[in-house]
Symmetry: C2
């Protein structure tokens, strides 16, 4: 983004709250495995990924009471590729897919690649981004509707769907014979001891459910580019394999890292969850203390959406980089409009990723507070 | 491929001559770098790849007299992704692209993803798969034609295009305002001291040329999944960045490996080229000594196409796995038809990758020889 580059060139320090790149360390067991790599040839894996990794990964899910078998799993180049394969496989050009908004902006790009039209259903900040009633989903269903895509826990909202929420949506998917694609890459990040309900635990949905996963967030190794497309639907697996074969193999080194990551001790996750929960509390409390700012407390992931006392967060985010700083520091936020497909929505909102340490987060909240004073005064003065 | 799995289950040893996965070791400098990895977080790179790697990669090209600048380079997830991005960026659905056949079968898949129709131009085995005359290319050009895709040195033929060949095709591309996409991933594999001519050395073609590259074959690290899309055309780079951003980042560990690979000593390549040239000579001589077999000597890459005294190489390749073995060994070949888009072509041909050691290659040639005796006798007897 040129604004951030320019800000840095002008000597500002830009605190990045706009991207989901955690500062959390990758588990030591992963880096140790790389340091002890035994291979002599970094060769292709099979297109669906190394068998040994897929088998161990199935065991991981089973340990979380998610009944995944190794043959259900196709390893992909990140969760992104799993989503692309899922959309290309399940949908034809001209089909429609229902996705609750705000949603991860890249979903739109993946839908475009598959030629699919996204029909958004709006989750509201006033309701803490709880999933809209299932009747609202049903109202959107047409002859062209072929699927529903969920992200749970949610990026960008941090909302965690209850078992009942998921079941109601699943019943609808079954009734109308739709695919239910669930992006569960933030599964490990649930606070106050909550356990998210996986679509893979739904009964009688074997032909409908496609689970999307990734090691990126779980082990803070976004750069490994290892994800998974998981389904009991054999037709979908066969079709997805055609796309998998076209790109030959998922990354071998990433798979070695991801397989090692499965040995990460529980204490790592306990520490990480504690850290994120602390950051969330600092951030959300700090935001809600700023006059005019409203931020529901997210139950999972590491993002929140905040409503600001402004009319155009695109402009505000740009202005923060171009024209504002406190002691040489400024902040980079993701404008809300990028997460909505319905025109005009999200203009007062920003997404904030709490992937930074406590000190930077406190500093960022303070910068936002001071910035809003200046920006809103400026807006009032202007004709 | 189920036939190969079945053959292995029946206790046969399958000698794989069908895939381009070399047995050559990855350079030690790569594995050493991984063993000394200093990172604590395996994070995303930027979508176009690490700047440091791109800068070093540009220096590598310059050392080969290929004038690439760092800003021309986008790092991709293998050469496959570079080809997909190039086709998606340069072409619209319904456009036509000219590709000399036989060609790497996955090109068809990439074209399908981009909605592009491939117009093949046939290179003939009788002419050692030399590029067809440029007038033949021109005859295929319609209003819908937007580009030409070349692979040089060629997979599956091993043909190396001369400077004059490339220049003539480039002149045509310029005359008709077409993109010229050149897959040069086998650049290092040229025999008898030949140096391939890169499209990046063409004069006055900055807006037309897209160079596709990969570290997979050069350093025998197919599993790294690191390639590159290289062009001076800024519009193409901008558009390709949109696709790059949708998949976030190329693999970080693969980039670390690829950056280290740039320090591979020349002696590694000298040894590898010597080894491949030896294998090629053993294979091609062995093949041409089999009655009825014709195999032009390839000038580059590590494949050859052989014509066999049979009518259906799909059937023959299947039969080799299902019904034939010599002392428990059989061979897996790639049927020629998969490399042609013109119906009926390649039925007498197979592609053989000489990525195995001398002993296995000699054994493979002998198996093929004996198999042809049995198979052709069988064919003659049958009604």
């Amino acid at each position: 983004m040129p604004y951030a580059v320019k800000a840095k060139q002008e000597g500002k320090r830009v605190i990045h709250l706009n991207i989901g790149q955690p500062d959390i360390k990758t588990p030591e067991v992963v880096l140790d495995r790389l340091k002890n790599i035994q291979r002599e040839v970094i060769e292709y894996s099979s297109s669906e990924g190394f068998t040994e990794y897929r088998e161990k990964l199935a065991t991981y899910y089973q340990s979380k009471n998610v009944p995944v078998n190794a043959e259900d799993i196709m390893i992909t180049t990140g969760g992104s590729e799993a989503l692309v394969f899922a959309m290309m496989t399940c949908f034809d050009a001209g089909d429609e897919v229902i996705i609750p908004e705000p949603y991860y902006a890249n979903y739109s790009g993946f839908a475009t690649m598959a030629g699919v039209s996204v029909k958004p259903i709006t989750a509201k900040i006033e309701q803490n981004f709880a999933p809209p009633p299932v009747t609202d989903f049903e109202n959107l269903i047409t002859k062209k509707t072929q699927g529903i895509v969920l992200c749970n826990p949610g990026n960008p909202t941090g909302a965690v769907y209850s078992k009942e929420d998921i079941q109601a949506i699943a019943d609808l998917a079954k009734k109308h014979n739709l695919y239910l694609i669930a992006d569960e890459v933030y599964r490990e990040f649930c606070y106050e001891g909550a356990t998210p309900f996986s679509v893979y635990n739904l009964e009688g949905m074997a032909e409908h459910v496609i689970l999307i996963d990734s090691v990126s967030k779980r082990y803070s190794m976004c750069g490994a580019r290892i994800g998974a497309l998981i389904t009991r639907n054999e037709e979908v697996r066969k079709m997805a394999m055609k796309f998998a074969q076209a790109r030959l193999s998922p990354p071998t080194l990433g798979q070695i890292a991801a397989e090692a990551a499965l040995e990460t001790p529980q204490s790592y996750f306990d520490d990480v969850i504690e850290e994120y929960q602390k950051r969330r509390d600092i951030l959300v409390q700090g935001l809600n203390e700023i006059p005019g700012v409203k931020c529901p407390k997210p139950g999972g992931a590491f993002y929140c959406i905040a409503e600001l006392p402004i009319d155009d967060s695109d402009l505000f985010c740009q202005w923060l980089l171009e024209s504002f700083s406190v002691n040489g520091d400024t902040i980079m936020l993701a404008p809300g409009s990028g997460f909505y497909i319905t025109p005009g929505l999200g203009k007062k909102e920003v997404r904030i990723a709490y992937v930074l340490n406590e000190e930077d987060l406190r500093k960022a909240v303070n910068i936002l507070k001071e910035a809003l004073v200046v920006f809103t005064a400026k807006e009032t003065v202007q004709p």
